[in-house]
């Protein structure tokens, strides 16, 4: 990159960074305000658990409640709370989980996150690649039987919720045919280790959740890309190139490249919903990822843990967004050289 070009690039990246930080701040503030705006006893679940566990001794429960209220308790002015909340966030302290008390939320979450990444990233990328390819080919062969096939299947497939597809896959391949395991991240009784047995078990359990995310996501990408290809094939620059005798293949290469750029941004914007989908898919498959722990946190109203999950997920999404912006800025000369903002 020539030196002169560096400045607009940095300016762009800097602006995006600032914007994401700002947005993250807004998100964090929402996360902070929500529990305080709505009354309720977040400790109820924990207390009831002790109550049910046979320690029906009223004194015990009152004592525990007192002790916990102090620890999780509020009462200070809201601004002080907010600042200390931000301060703790800044130090990476996401608080103590109620249900996993006395575990720190971060410690509770840590083991689940790699599983989600392990599922989400390859699945999303695979879907993105296959979907874009299919869409591009269909758009390029517009009006042929292949285009119709891709378009019509995509229209239906893109509307199949991940989780329902997951259910169908489990029902078909696990329950009826018995080809794949019905649930979990690896076979019960195995202890995680760097052994052939364990790794094959993990991969074996990986197939269905992976497929359910990939298949459900392909359609959306294919539809979008097809449309973009059609637009681009009709774009002035394409027509000009064709009329100059450029080969169809070369032209298509250009078009595809130009489409991938907006689709990279699409990938970033889509990450949130992809993550949401993956979380629910994990739930369906009892896959030991973040979705599973989120569901547990939600069903037990473990608010510190819920907050921590969202703080982390949103950070992850924004980080990914920023990475994508960065890549985008490098790949797209218009942004790199400071002309326009892209689409």
């Amino acid at each position: 990159m020539p030196k002169t070009a560096l400045k607009p690039f940095l300016k762009y990246v800097g602006r995006r960074f600032f914007f994401l930080i700002l947005t993250y701040f807004v998100a964090i503030t929402i996360i902070f305000i929500l529990p305080r705006a709505i009354p309720g006893n977040p400790l109820s679940q924990l207390l009831s658990r002790i109550a049910v566990q046979g320690a029906a001794n009223p004194e015990t429960i009152s004592n525990v409640q007192k002790s916990l209220m102090e620890e999780f308790g509020v009462g200070k002015p809201i601004i002080v709370q907010y600042l200390s909340f931000l301060g703790r966030l800044f130090r990476g302290d996401l608080g103590t989980s109620i249900n996993f008390y006395p575990k720190k939320c971060l410690d509770v979450l840590a083991p689940f996150i790699p599983w989600t990444l392990f599922l989400l990233i390859p699945a999303t990328l695979t879907a993105w690649i296959i979907g874009n390819t299919l869409g591009a080919v269909a758009g390029n062969k517009r009006g042929t039987w292949m285009d119709n096939l891709v378009l019509n299947t995509s229209l239906v497939i893109s509307q199949i919720p991940y989780y329902w597809l997951g259910m169908l896959l489990i029902y078909t391949f696990s329950v009826k045919l018995g080809i794949f395991p019905t649930q979990g991240g690896y076979a019960q009784g195995l202890l995680p280790s760097f052994s052939f047995k364990f790794i094959t078990s993990v991969l074996y359990h990986y197939v269905l959740p992976f497929l359910s995310i990939v298949i459900a996501a392909i359609g959306g990408w294919a539809i979008g890309t097809r449309l973009l290809v059609i637009y681009e094939l009709d774009a002035d620059y394409t027509i000009f190139a064709v009329n100059l005798g450029m080969r169809d293949r070369t032209v298509f290469k250009y078009v595809f490249r130009n489409i991938l750029l907006p689709q990279i941004t699409g990938l970033a914007l889509n990450l949130g919903s992809a993550l949401g989908g993956a979380l629910i898919t994990e739930l369906i498959f009892n896959y030991p990822g973040t979705g599973y722990i989120l569901f547990r946190a939600l069903s037990t109203l473990d608010y510190p843990l819920i907050q921590a999950i969202f703080v982390i997920l949103i950070v992850a999404i924004y980080f990914a967004n920023f990475i994508v912006d960065f890549v985008y800025a490098i790949v797209d000369p218009r942004i790199r050289l400071g002309q326009g903002e892209g689409s």
Partner: protein
């Protein structure tokens, strides 16, 4: 004009297929619960029965009639979908139009706000908000989803208006001394009507899917049966792994038919109205 817009639609096989499926489901949602008046929430009958004459779609673990649940669920899901669409469309139109007409600092502020909402992952935020609400009616769910899904539409509307505003005839209306509001009504809205209609359909789609997603993780409506709630119970009761297909296939199928028929309708409309996609 009206005729010219509608007629080409009915030449599109996609539009006809999509519309037929959609209308059938709407009819089912409206008349189903009347023609099959079993109470969807009552616990009665034999548990986990496969479809039979008495229970056309079988029963769940508590003997609930699944046909009744699916019919009422379709109705509620559609209701949520429409509410979401109305809410997000209204906000989107308001923000988009206001932003485009006023311009300047108003535009800048509104667009920053829009971008922030757009960047915050809406599904996660919906989950977060819903998790704090103890009593969630269908309307509350719709509001949560509605207030999170408008930004892309607002941006698109603004962009469209901006390009329209620069056109001469709008300029002429301005010269003629029309106020901004009248300008908006008379000249601009017709120009963006088709687009808005298509967005409306997509919002319904988003609403239905969003509700189902929220319900599935246990954050759906606390009162009433939606398709998502039926699915949620199927998951909670392990209907899938226990092979109770009649429990989870019908509600999911209705969702897919409903949303894909809507998507097919918009695709068809796009092909008919969008000059770039029209086959010359």
């Amino acid at each position: 004009m009206w005729k010219a817009m509608i007629r080409p639609l009915f030449k599109s096989p996609k539009f006809i297929v999509g519309m037929t499926i959609f209308l059938l489901i709407v009819l089912m949602a409206i008349f189903g619960p009347i023609l099959y008046p079993k109470d969807p929430t009552s616990f009665a009958g034999m548990p986990e029965q496969p479809p039979s004459k008495e229970y056309p779609l079988g029963t769940d673990t508590y003997g609930g009639d699944l046909l009744a649940k699916v019919l009422n669920g379709t109705r509620s899901s559609l209701y949520v979908g429409f509410l979401v669409a109305i809410i997000s469309m209204s906000i989107g139109l308001l923000v988009g139009i206001f932003s485009a007409m006023k311009g300047g600092i108003v535009d800048e502020l509104l667009m920053s706000f829009t971008n922030i909402v757009l960047t915050i992952p809406s599904i996660l935020l919906a989950i977060l908000i819903a998790s704090y609400l103890r009593i969630r009616s269908l309307e509350v769910i719709a509001v949560i989803l509605g207030i999170l899904s408008w930004p892309w539409f607002a941006r698109a509307i603004r962009a469209q208006l901006m390009s329209l505003i620069n056109r001469e005839y709008v300029y002429l209306s301005r010269l003629a001394g029309y106020g901004d509001f009248r300008l908006a009504i008379e000249d601009l809205i017709p120009a963006i009507a088709t687009y808005t209609f298509m967005a409306f359909i997509l919002f319904i789609n988003g609403g239905i899917l969003g509700e189902a997603g929220l319900s599935l993780i246990g954050l759906g409506p606390t009162k009433g049966v939606t398709l998502g709630v039926v699915l949620q119970w199927a998951v909670l009761m392990e209907a899938v792994r226990r092979g109770l297909w009649w429990w989870f296939i019908p509600p999911g199928l209705v969702i897919v038919l409903l949303t894909s028929s809507l998507l097919i309708i918009t695709t068809a409309m796009d092909e008919v109205f969008n000059p770039k996609l029209r086959e010359r």
